[in-house]
Amino acid sequence: MRAWLATLGVVAQIAFRNLFASRLKTIIVGGIIFFGGLLVVAGNSLLDSVVASMSRSVIGSVAGHIQVYNAKSKDTLEVMGRMMMGDPDLSQLDDFAKVRASLLKVENVKSVVPMGISGALVTSGNTIDLALEKLRNAVNARRDAKTDGERAQAELQVASEKGHVRQIVSVLQGDLKNAKAVLDERTIDPADGAAVNRAASDAFWQDFDKEPFEALEFLENRIASQAADADLLFLNYIGTDFQAFQKSFDRMKIVEGTMVPAGKRGFLFAKHVYEEQLKLKAARRLDQIKEGTENEGETIATDPDLKRMVRENVSQVREILLQLDAAKTVDFRAKLQRELASQETDVGKLLAAFFQTDDHNFRGRHDFFYKELAPSLELYRVRIGDVLTIKAFTRSGYVQSVNVPVYGTFEFQGLEKSTLAGALNLMDMVSFRELYGFMSGEKLAEIQALQKAAGAHDVSRENAEAELFGSKATDAPAAKAPRRIEATTTPGVAPVMHDLGESLGGKLQREEARSRVFPSDEVERGVVLNAAVILKNPKKIKETIVAIEAQGKQDGLTLKAIDWQAAAGLIGQFVNVIRIVLYVAILIIFLIALVIINNALVMATLERVKEIGTLRAIGAQRRFILAMLVVESIVVGFIFGGLGAGLGVLLVTVVGKIGIPAKSDVWFFFFSGPRLYPFIGTSNIVAAFAIVLLVSAFSSFYPAWIAMRVTPRQAMQEEE
């Protein structure tokens, strides 16, 4: 045994000395292996860290550890990254309570959150609508004023609102002129032009107070429709049980407003959506420029994106101008003149000059905007407390609309900047079901009431003929007085605080939307599309998926369970794609390594034919020669692979301390926060060594074969 060890010792010694003797070869071969080891350890660790943090993002924001949906669905469930591709065709889960009961029987399941994911178009407020509404309110107030004081105050209000509307109309007039310059004259309805010109005329405003309601009607019908700043918003939302959601996804926190109370209809905007889509564009751009210059180290002078934003702010002051009534116009003019030390009187030009920022004056302008100008502006198109009218196409194709009050905004801790995690807004389950075309208890009761009123009743298929043509004489429903069923829908958003002048029906509907409390039973027992499952032990996802599907079968439910990565759809696959790329890179590197190492070893072996022949002649068995070469390769593999892996560990550890900053919002999601702190997986080090040794062993096969065929006779041959 000791002699055997001594032989191994001599083998190792010869190997070491050979490696040292042919340093260049060793360094080249070793260098490749070093790089390979580094890549395996660092690359895999980095990727594992991204997967781990991304899983936290996905699991912590919507998916949970496992998503459950109906196995009969035509499409697979994707809770994230669906973007604009429409809803997947999912079959519903009829009774959430039953599903949850079944899921909770599975041992590892901690909690279950009901869900349904969909999207809808929402028209947000139109500035002129709001202005006209205010004017109407002021006119009403003047009419209803009881004291002189009240009347005087209302008169002032009317004058101010009139100024605002006039301002808007003059902006519209300007737009029309511009449109004529760039568009074919014929595409513009001359009636529209005439209406705007009339509304802009002094005569119109002088006569306004004579017949204010007539004038208002003209403005509402002929002018408001021409102001095209009511952008369509596409909102993705999850219908859910707010309380269960907040409890299960504990990274969720309310930023503005409050949580939707249990049993109420309500909508929570994702903070990111709220900022990105609903904020006044000029203000949003200021935020982004600030973010870019202060947090990302860019400058307006060099970064084309920031430059573009400055340019857009300069050219798009209209959005702000439309919000300015007479008083605000005066106020803005004074403030801007002072700030800019300018004699200019046109507020539009003053604003344009104000937004013409550079790296030097940006911070000051930004702060001035928020301190002096913003308090007079509506910064968001939808305010907390507003009622949002959401219209969506139901599964069966008709349009359904639901009014939901906006309670606030929320975000997920660490994912504040991620577009992906911040793309989904939250809605109560009952409203969701309605929009999706399911009957809520509320709707069902309404329909039953209507049916009762209309005398309609369910007819089974077998009895249909008898019912239609049957002999039984009934009071013909047609004989009753014709009914007009009015649907009151509110286009766009109408703020509740200012809806004094609205139709009673709409008002009631909104009032009801805010106040109606539905029993928790209704949330529980109804239809859902999917459910997020939070596990007690997140490591046992695979086992739990099997258990859930088995339990579902036992309970007569057709449940399909998928892990968070599958539920994350494209995003989940993104990591797989990176991993494949990394593996291909590693594979290529090691294939190249294999070829180069093999080549180098073959050359080295051929150079050493005589030495090998001598060893064979003096009594070395073939296996000794084999061992010698393999040990050489493995020593190189171990030392250089080890160094590479070591550097990888060091690198990942150091980077793990500092963290990799997320450069864009996408990376916020993948990093589950502003920085990724990569960690070393032991399995990666083991894998690195395994791969390195495998490559070393493989690459020495051919040279070893050559070496083993060297005969002792070759020791005798003399090269002349």
């Binding site: 032989t7 002649a617 009594g619 002792p712 005798m716």
Partner: protein, 240 residues
Amino acid sequence: MKAIVSVREAVKNYILGNVVVPALRGVTLDVVEGDFLAIAGPSGSGKTTLLNLIGCVDTPTSGTVEVAGKDTRQLSERELTDLRLHTIGFIFQSFNLVSVLTVFQNIELPLLLQRKLNGPERAQRVAALLERVGLREYGAHRPSELSGGQRQRVAIARALVTRPQLVLADEPTANLDSVTGAHILDLMRELNRTEKTTFIFSTHDQSVMAHANAVVRLADGKLVDRVTPAQAAAETGLPA
């Protein structure tokens, strides 16, 4: 005296492409223990082939070669290797030391392959041999730091370290100057006398043959005769 090597009608053909090249055409030879035998002949006469057969590096195409009582044609590759390791020592024309090992390690190498002795025993034996070949101070040197004569002495020490019954030397002095070559032969001769080791060496050098007990002359793959060194020296102009 007992024959350590017994060659009977040994024929060795090499195949080069489609051509059969006869290297030995039926050689019969006995070498007794303690012999100090020179195999002489011009190049191509089959000296090295004969040495290869005796050295168990090759086996005859026909005929038999027995070394230490074993018929080499009956042995497997592995057994031949073992026979070389335990019974035969080799000295090569160009020394064939392992360049990356020290002198000491080169000499120790066959002992490591044998796996019979432990470290101190090996060290003792190597030290004794270094002393014997006059290289006591050179144990830690690399072969490249030595002169040709010193290298060949290291090779001799390596060949003798396992105390083989037989040492084969293929043109051991061909790469040395005559004085050094003479010293090497003196050393071999002395070891032959003191250690009773049988030496067979090939040469085409008259002065080298002079050291031998007997000279076996080869020509065209055939044994011409077996003479004394004096006879060999007397007959100038050997058959080509």
